[in-house]
């Protein structure tokens, strides 16, 4: 070991360097804080505006009444029920298909050009503007299959098409992140591929899958354009009885009310937005609770 040239940490040049490092770190922290603050500011502004405009409008009548031409009697119950039914259809279709597709593509399918193409296509589908799905729904579900117009069934199917790629992508990533050691361990004990997948991989991937589902459903809940295309825009006075009855959804209801000339509807609109946000929070909360319940540490 040569005795020459050990690093001189106490040199002024060195100290200057170190100080500059800390300075740039502080700068970055400030910038980051600023960025977060800005976004939060906008969100806060939105929430405060809506809250002040709409909080007075929230009453039992709003929540239980159906749409009406008279602002005093108009309520969101019909739209709420429509949203719920639509979400149920969406969930019921997108979740199983999405999860099974993710499992098949990750665990069972061979790796070749065809599966690569499928992966690319699914990634692209997730980015397609929602209105295209509306057009698809219009063309296929309504015109070709002659399903009832404006029904949660059709709305749900359209939104399912839109949500499924998100679930597949999240599902694949969640499955990919399950450590191979767990798979090896199960195989080593003599489990078949199906047993490995459903007894071990899926339970561990479930939190990730549920996260993807939450994201997908939240997006679907707030979608307006595709549902407008398949006709869930009509004025509907009575709440829907089942998924085949004509209905509307909350975002569309808000859109329709915001178009109204009558000034009384302004307050209603804001109130409805609050209801929508609360509904979304509730749904997200439930999904996060479910995800945490299934979360396992390994």
């Amino acid at each position: 070991m040569s005795s020459a040239a050990r690093t001189r940490w106490n040199d002024p040049a060195m100290q200057q360097r170190i100080r500059r490092r800390y300075a740039s770190e502080r700068l970055f922290r400030l910038a980051g804080l600023g960025a977060v603050g800005l976004s939060v500011l906008f969100l806060a502004f939105l929430l405060v505006t809506i809250a002040t405009k709409g909080i007075s409008g929230i009453d039992w009548a709003l929540l239980t009444g159906s749409d009406s031409t008279e602002p005093a009697r108009a309520g969101v119950w019909g739209a709420l029920k429509g949203s719920l039914l639509t979400m149920l259809v969406t969930m019921g279709l997108a979740f199983p298909i999405g999860v099974l597709a993710a499992i098949y593509l990750e665990e069972f399918a061979a790796r070749n050009r065809w599966t690569d193409m499928i992966e690319v296509s699914i990634n692209n589908l997730a980015a397609v503007p929602s209105i295209i799905f509306g057009l698809l729904g219009l063309a296929v579900f309504l015109n070709v299959m002659n399903l009832p117009r404006s029904a949660p069934l059709v709305g749900g199917m359209t939104l399912a098409l839109m949500t499924m790629p998100v679930i597949v992508i999240a599902g694949r990533n969640a499955i990919k992140s399950v450590p191979p050691s767990i798979r090896d361990a199960a195989l080593g004990v003599g489990a078949s591929k199906m047993q490995v997948t459903f007894h071990h991989v899926l339970p561990l991937a479930l939190p990730g899958i549920l996260t993807g589902t939450i994201i997908g459903m939240a997006r679907a809940l707030g979608e307006t354009a595709p549902l407008l295309m398949i006709g869930m825009r009509a004025f509907i006075a009575a709440p829907p009885g089942g998924i085949a009855d004509p209905a509307t959804v909350l975002p569309v209801q808000i859109f329709l009310w915001s178009d109204e000339v009558d000034r009384a509807f302004v307050e209603k609109t804001s109130a409805a937005i609050i209801v929508l946000l609360l509904f979304m929070l509730l749904m997200n909360g439930l999904a996060i609770y479910l995800r945490n319940r299934f979360e396992r540490r390994w």
Partner: protein, 276 residues
């Protein structure tokens, strides 16, 4: 009575002999000319080794020499790697495990495996051990299943430490305990051969010693093959050793001879620390 040298009995020479089976014994697993290719690259060239009951066979060699690849051939774990291709013949009790109609799931129950890094399932200790017997239908009742779990944990030397907390997570145990849990899990399906891939490399010396002692106890019931990069461990634990180098099996023989007087120069270089 004070002991003098006439009352000291010499160890029975036959007891050492009992540890060595006669040369004519039939092998539990026999491989003939096994080669493994990853795409175009040949990872293993023409390996022919026998694994005997009641013996521990160690595979030693430098990194990347193919010993783990060879071990994984014995329970067809290389099947899970798409690019891997195995040629040659591997027999279990005389039956070719690749060509015959032997079910790979059944093979893996008969030839169990313990991995380098302990990998218990993220479930309870009880569920970890009972998983294998459950999926193979080895227990007729819940009581029987509990019996199997207890027996396996006892054989793995873990029962006393966990008998009061079988419902706790398997991953909450220490490293050495986790590895013994994995051994119990492998034992629970009543295998005939146990393959161990560097089972102690992630463990501290005391945990390692416990596992080595466990291997010694298990030797009577199962044929054991162990891959290790620790030569002293191979010397302590095995009765037969095979030295691998660059995908070839260079030398195979009795452990006592391999470490005192090997036949091949490459083997000598490796075990005396003159390699690399």
């Amino acid at each position: 009575m004070t002991a003098n040298h006439s009352t000291v009995t010499l160890p029975d020479p036959r007891s050492a002999e009992a540890a060595e089976p006669p040369a004519s014994r039939i092998a539990k697993m026999a491989t003939h000319g096994v080669s493994v290719f990853y795409g175009d690259k040949q990872a293993l060239k023409d390996v022919s080794i026998n694994i005997y009951d009641d013996l521990v066979t160690a595979f030693i060699g430098p990194s990347g020499c193919g010993k783990s690849t060879f071990l994984r051939c014995l329970n067809r774990m290389n099947d899970t790697i798409a690019a891997a291709r195995v040629t040659g013949r591997i027999d279990l009790d005389g039956e070719d495990i690749n060509r015959s109609r032997m079910d790979v799931v059944q093979l893996r129950a008969r030839v169990g495996m313990v991995f380098q890094k302990p990998n218990p399932f993220p479930k309870s200790i009880f569920e970890n051990v009972s998983y294998g017997p459950r999926i193979h239908g080895l227990a007729q009742s819940k009581a029987e299943l509990a019996e199997i779990v207890e027996k396996s944990l006892k054989r793995a030397g873990l029962w006393d430490e966990v008998k009061d907390r079988l419902q706790e997570s398997g991953t909450a145990l220490s490293g050495g305990q986790q590895q013994r849990l994995c051994i119990a899990r492998a034992i629970a399906v009543d295998p005939e051969v146990i393959l161990m891939d560097e089972p102690c490399s992630a463990l501290d010396p005391i945990a390692t010693a416990k596992i080595e002692e466990l291997i010694h106890e298990l030797r009577g019931r199962y044929a054991i093959a162990i891959v290790t990069h620790n030569m002293q461990q191979a010397a302590r634990v095995s009765q037969r050793t095979a030295f691998f180098h660059l995908g070839e099996m260079v030398e195979y023989g009795k452990t006592s001879e391999m470490f005192t007087n090997p036949r091949q120069q490459r083997t000598t270089d490796y075990i005396t620390g003159r390699y690399g």
